[in-house]
Each structure stands twice: as C-alpha cells, then as structure tokens.
Subunit: 263 residues, 2 copies
Amino acid sequence: MLIDGKKIAEEIKEELKSQIKKSGKKLKLAIVQVGENDVSKKFIERKIKFAEEIGVATKLYNLPVEILTEELREKISEICCEKNNGVILQLPLPEHIDTQRALDSILASKDVDVLSSNKNKILPPLVGVIKTIFEKYGIDPVGKNIIVIGRGILVGKPIANWLISEGATVSVLNSKTPNPNDYTLMADIIISGAGKPGLIKPDMVKGGVIAIDAATSIKEGKLAGDFDPAVADKASLFTPVPGGVGPLTVAMLFKNLVELNKY
Amino acid sequence: MLIDGKKIAEEIKEELKSQIKKSGKKLKLAIVQVGENDVSKKFIERKIKFAEEIGVATKLYNLPVEILTEELREKISEICCEKNNGVILQLPLPEHIDTQRALDSILASKDVDVLSSNKNKILPPLVGVIKTIFEKYGIDPVGKNIIVIGRGILVGKPIANWLISEGATVSVLNSKTPNPNDYTLMADIIISGAGKPGLIKPDMVKGGVIAIDAATSIKEGKLAGDFDPAVADKASLFTPVPGGVGPLTVAMLFKNLVELNKY
C-alpha cells in the first residue's frame, strides 16, 4: 500500500490553519539561507508555500556563500532577537562552515527544526513524520526489527535515537556495513536516508516490509528516493518519492512552530 | 584476552594525578545522593577513593528519599553555585523523581557525567571507556557489526549514539527483540548494559568476538556481568566483571572533571 504523504500533509495543514486562526496569533518564520543550492531552493519554496496556506508569515534571509561560521552565528543570534516565532537554517551549508556550531546559535525556543544541541520538547520534523505514519497505520515499533540507513543529522541520527527510546530493535547501517543484506532481509521496517537513488532493490527486502523513504537526492532534475520503486510491490507499506515523506516533513515543521508558540 | 580495566584505570589515575599536581589547581567534586541504595553506596565509595588518590576533594550531599523533583532541582542548582568543579547526581533515583528533569538542573560546565540535556564537549564516562578500549587495542569501529544490548541513559543510549557517529554499523537490542541470536551471532563486537547476569552464553556469539560488559547488577552481593564468564574462551577480547569496565568508568569521570576545569 502506498502511503500518501501529500494527503496526510493536507490534513495536518488544515488542522494547523484552524489552530492558528483560532489562536488569533500572527506567526512568523525566519528562513536563513547561505549561498545558493538547487535542492535548498526547492525546499525553501515549499516551506514558504505551506506557510502562506496556513497563514504564517515568512522572511527569507539570503546570506553570502563566503560568510564565516562565527559571522553566521552572530547573524543568526540577531535574527533570533527579531520579531519572529521560529528560525530555520536551511541545510546543507557551504563546506567551510561548522554546521553544528552554526545550528547551536539558534535559540532553543525558536528552533523548530530541533537541530541545535540545546534540545527542547518538540520532535525533529523527520521524527514527527515517522511517528505520524506509525500512528496513522497502527504500527508498534516495540519488538520490530527496524533498519535505519544513513546517519546524518537530519534523518538517520534523530530517527534512530527516537526509535531506540521507543523500544524498537534498531540497526543503523552505513556505506561501510559489510553485508547490508543480512540486515535488510531481516527487517520489518526500513527507513532510508542515504540519498542514493535506487539503493534498495526488491531482492534485498522481505515480503510485507514497511519501506519509508526519507531520501532527498536529485536525479536528472527530479527528487529521487533510496528505494527502487519496484520495492512497492513487495512492501506492505511504501512511501513514494515524491509525495511521501517530503510533504509530511514540511507539515511537521509548521506543527513545531505552532507547538513552540502555544503558550 | 582479558581486558584488565583495573590496570588501565591505574594508568589513567597516575596521569590525572600528575596533571592536577602540575596545574596547581584544587579541584572539588560534589556528589549528590538521594535516599540509600547498596549499589549506589558502593559506586560512591569508589569515586571518593579515586578522588582521594588523585588529590581531588569531594563533598557528599545526602538528600532525603522523599524529596520531590522540583526540590531536588533547586537543591542541585544551589550546589552548582557552591565552590566546586563538578557535580554528579548518583543514579538510580527514587521512582517518584523525574530523572532527566533532575539531571537537567546540573550546569553543563559542571556536568562531568554528561547526563544533562545541555551537552558539553566531553564524552559520557562509559563512552570514554569504550573509546579508551578501542584505542588501547587498535579497534576501528568502521565496517564492524556492533551490537549494543540495552538502551539506558548510562550505557546503551550514549554508547550507541557515539558508535553511530563514529561510523559503525550499530544494532540496539532490548528485551523485546524477537530473535537476538540473529544479531549476536553476526556481531564483531558486543557491548552489553542489560543488567541481566549471565544473559549472553557462549553459543550466542561467534569465535573471536570482542565482548565488553558494561552491566552493573548485584548478584548474591557481588557485581555480576551480562556475559557468562565462559564467553571469555571464545572471545578475542573480554572485559571481566568486576575489574573491567567498572574501574575504567570511575577513571573517566575524573578525566572529565580535569578536562572541564582545564582552562
């Protein structure tokens, strides 16, 4: 069965729109971009569109690609002091910047992406996506063999951590894993954020697997997932790319914005 | 081969002693205990002994077992403002206390156990132990199948996180894992913090496995490990209990105290 991320995102959108309307608050999201990047541009456009649709204002800050880590931190600190309700720093950053140090300059109370080291009580957007899918489809992670592919700060790490806390049996694989099939063939659920189009083939998974594709690579100008689309035939649940995890992630970002500004 | 934790801890002790002497600083560790607990008592005694041997002063605060979370937080905040260089809250706490909330009241700059949500740059003591063992025995976690048993805040979680960051293929198992042997038989390295004496039998591991026992249960008045001692015969490296991870953990705690007070 295909998971229609777009449809679930629409439901969340409606819910947020009505919550914001009811609260009477004017919410504003600051988006910080360093340099230019085609993938980033696409994601920022989606976020701005989602914001407009739920009645949230946005302000985009374009910073020069040559900015240094410390200058970026200072700039973000300033932006955090301006009148807004959430601040996101669009990743990836240019290579010369210390990404975690830059993220740590975001005030916890405005960190809707939950990427600074100063944790707050909301879930990182991609974790929120997994939780939403689990709730929607009645999936209990306890006692399940779950494989997480990749260990990045946006996908692999936060998702693995959350699943461990929830009591799943979690294996985190990466490009150096000696025999990945030993793991994937055992998996009840595979969550992939490797960013390698078509990495996971049908013969690498067991029948009935739940396949969640959190990858965001661009192949021939289009978003491409880690799962070979043919895996959908063997899977009991499958998130397509595009139209699966992507729209849900944007929805979760704004759920966090509303959550952080509730009181 | 047995890993002699006591001997490595002695080496670290000598190193710290000389560092502290050279720096001319007077370091003091505050230890907060809530109620009474035989295991805690044992560990606190060891920490005080280690402190004395490297020339660090200690102050033990015994708080009543009925203290509430918020009162404990206030008390810890006060203790953090006193003249000391590190503050530890001995776990486990009584059941009515919100452990993470209590830990979060420790100032990051004094959190030598690295248990508050406000992370600093030092490694949690048990992670430091694993790192020390890897360095000492030339073990590269990249490309290894590593199993972590348990997901507690002292052992499983911090160790799994660190291993993931280091690029290992990490599986976190718990009591609900359907077929643990599928994982343990594949493992190059098993790190256990389940607290179930004798849980891992020789027939569950492959020959040459590296077995690191981070469990701290008490069985018949003695510390007992998760590995059946007979696993030592199949293992290429094995940490005995007692005398393996335990003394190294205490050594790491004081390494952190010195590290946080270096500048």
